[in-house]
Amino acid sequence: MNRRIALRHLALISGGLVLIPSCDFSSDDILAAYENLKVTASQKALLGVISDTIIPAGEIKGALNLEVPDFILVMVNDCFTKENQDKFTAGLAAFPTYSLKIAGKKFDALSVKEKEELILNGTKLEGDETPEGKERANISYFLNSTKRFTIQGYMASEYIQTEIIPYSLIPGEYNGAVLISDLQKPRING
């Protein structure tokens, strides 16, 4: 954990990148903070665009403002089995080509609506035993994991839990019969 914090600080100093030698991705630098994943800086940036499409900034902050991509990679790096890490990173690696193939453009160049559609449809892809089927399964796995962790990382962030929906360590005495009609909460506009 300390190592990761140190690497993050180093990344800030060096302008966002920590360089470690790599034989797999000579043109793009692998991020050392997620030592079980071979994730490059550009892939993390792509993850940022995807998570920000899932929960965009508006009247209140979005996923990218809250460093959700970092949370996603920490969870995949630390809490996934090796097999699931492989599926996640394979899906992430295949996603740019998938965007070109389905939407005809790089993901970055799509409109908001096109991005949303591509991701939502991607979460519903079904795989099979063919190479193409396996790729579809990986993309679906990657997008569903990313969506789940985006929601978790966003809702369980300091910003949301202190400024938007304050979390209380002391929830108060139990009331076992609250009429739902009596609950009137001001609507939060995202």
Binding site: I60, Y174, A177
Partner: protein, 569 residues
């Protein structure tokens, strides 16, 4: 030098030694200290001081790097402890990792341990239901194990004694299988739980009850508990982190600081007990040999009376490893029964469902307890093809959720404004009595040793046919009760978990009337070494169905008073 040694031996001599600082050990120590006995408490783990050593207790959800989840690597390296429901990022520092303290599983057994001052009292589920004579008379009536040498009347005042001090909330339900006690105001059931309790009364003619479970939380009379430095439970439901309010009973928040205040208690943490030392000439135990956890150096402490409260299985280990010319097979083990007749609670099955009624209601706030079914099977007479029966937990829940199907701004607004109320969810889990058997045992491994040179424990415990029948009956009966109450989408599970995950392992040093068939007498003394008392789970002759900690507290308090009375004779 000689002089130094003599002084050193005097400094290492106390009137009483208590091995273990968990629920039962801390109760023994507290009572002894209150009675003016200079007491040494030996704990194998590190010190954990109330309020000071609860590093996660006020952490907010976003402060946990993995939001509570245990990283994959830790899970893979520690499969046993990773199966424990409370082994999460916020409390993992209070649990023993598999890799740190290995043991031999002849049959799968999930041994859940907490090695620190306070032991598992920091981590327990805080459910405190009294036993009744339907439990104490069980073995004699149904012809298993041996007769308990005590009855409810022997323990009743000690239940009251410990309940009052520990703080127990509950209602006087007037149920003969679950005697009422010294209760602080209870926690009300919610609207659907009350509905279910009423349905049971209607459908089963008053034979089956579902009540608010009695729990060791302070829910009133705050002035009384202020003397212990504790205050009202704040309904945080973060108990496993250690409670800065002392809202629930733990050794750390209650009995240990109380005992320290008497000036009679010395705590020696980081001391792994090797054995109890037997004085062949005097024919009694004279002290305890420990190995320092960190330096690995051996040291001896001496006392007139020794309380063994190392937690059920480790108390067996200590006695098995305490060999002498007089007791080559373990201290007090003339009968050859030491380590045998180990039993546990059967937690394998659960039933869940949904309820369409009371759809206008939800709940708010938090509470530290839920519903409880006292045993209703085979209580007044044998009525099934299996012996004994089961208690069960019960709860109903409903809260607002968000629709997370969409994406973008729509998803964001849904997440920020949870307003989807599904049906009420209801759920139950069984807590079955298991029958102690000679074939369920713990023993020392003949070759494997731990880091401190102490033999590793070998555990051989399994379910039997009686347990299988009981699981089936619980599932049938609970499903029937759910159906009669109008619950829908009923789902049943039998997860075939290994014994041990109930964290209610018991026996091996059982009480009884006859030294030939038991290890301890009615006062928790080893028949053959009466200055050694065992008052934790190891002493259990049978398991009944109730969560056992309250009974260990009462046993420890009662035995401590007995020891002091004996010493004055």
């Amino acid at each position: 030098m000689a002089n130094l040694n003599i002084r050193s031996k005097q400094e290492r001599t106390y009137q009483a030694i208590v091995i273990g600082s968990g629920i039962s050990g801390s109760w023994a120590a507290k009572e002894l200290c209150d009675l003016g006995v200079k007491t040494l408490m030996i704990e194998r783990g590190r010190n954990v001081e109330h309020g000071k050593d609860y590093p996660t207790t006020t952490m907010l959800p976003y402060e946990f790097e993995h939001r509570g989840q245990i990283p994959q690597k830790i899970q893979e390296e520690n499969p046993v402890i990773s199966r424990c429901y409370a082994f999460r990022e916020d409390a993992m520092h209070f649990f023993v990792k598999d890799t740190e303290h290995p043991y031999v599983q002849e049959k799968p057994f999930d041994w859940i341990r907490g090695y620190q001052v306070g032991g598992k009292s920091l981590l327990w589920a805080r459910q405190v239901q009294r036993w009744s004579d339907f439990d104490f008379e069980g073995p004699a009536r149904d012809g298993f194990a041996v007769d308990w040498p005590i009855r409810y009347k022997d323990i009743e005042k000690w239940y009251s004694h410990v309940e009052k001090f520990a703080g127990v909330s509950g209602f006087k339900d007037g149920i003969d299988t679950l005697p009422d006690g010294e209760f602080l105001p209870g926690y009300e059931l919610n609207v659907v739980e009350k509905y279910f309790a009423e349905q049971l009364k209607k459908q089963y003619g008053g034979d089956r009850h579902m009540i608010s479970a009695r729990c060791a939380h302070i829910h009133g009379n705050a002035e009384y508990y202020a003397a212990q430095g504790r205050t009202l439970c704040q309904n945080r439901n973060l108990c496993q982190r250690g409670c800065p309010f002392g809202g629930y009973f733990s050794s750390n928040s209650s009995t240990i600081p109380w005992a320290l205040k008497t000036g009679n208690l010395t705590i020696r943490p980081d001391a792994v007990v090797h054995s109890i030392i037997y004085d062949e000439e005097k024919g009694k135990a004279k002290g305890v040999r420990i190995v320092d956890r960190l330096t690995k150096e051996t040291e001896e402490f001496y006392a007139d009376v020794i309380f063994l409260n190392a937690a059920a299985i480790n108390s067996n280990l200590v006695l098995l490893n305490s060999t002498s010319t007089r007791f080559p097979n373990g201290l007090g083990n003339d009968s050859g029964l030491l380590g045998k007749y180990v039993a546990f609670h059967n937690y394998r099955a659960g039933v869940s469902a949904q309820y369409e009624g009371h759809s206008e209601y939800t709940t708010s706030g938090g509470r530290p307890t839920s519903g409880y079914f006292p045993r209703f099977r085979n209580v007044y007479k044998q009525e099934t093809d299996f012996l004994r029966g089961y208690a069960a937990g019960f709860s109903a829940n409903r809260g607002a959720r968000s629709n997370s199907d969409g994406i973008g701004l729509e998803l964001k607004n849904n997440l920020l404004n949870p307003d989807q109320y599904g049906l009420w969810s209801v759920g139950s889990h069984m807590m079955g009595e298991t029958i102690p058997k000679e074939s369920n045992y713990v023993a020392l491994d003949p070759s494997l040793k731990d880091e401190w040179g102490i033999p590793q424990l070998k555990i051989s415990v399994d379910y039997d046919d009686n347990d299988e029948k009981m699981v089936k009956d619980y599932i049938e009966q609970m499903s029937e009760m759910f159906t009669k109450a109008g619950f829908v989408n009923i789902q049943t599970r039998d997860d075939h978990r290994a014994p041990g995950l109930d964290i209610h392992e018991m026996g091996g040093v059982r009480m009884g009337r006859d030294p030939k068939t038991s290890m301890l007498n009615a006062n928790h003394q080893l028949h053959a070494v009466p200055n050694v008392y065992v008052t934790d789970g190891a002493s259990m002759t049978s398991t009944s169905t109730q969560n056992p900690s309250l009974t260990y507290m009462a046993f420890a308090a009662r035995a401590a008073h007995h020891a002091v009375a004996e010493s004055k004779k």
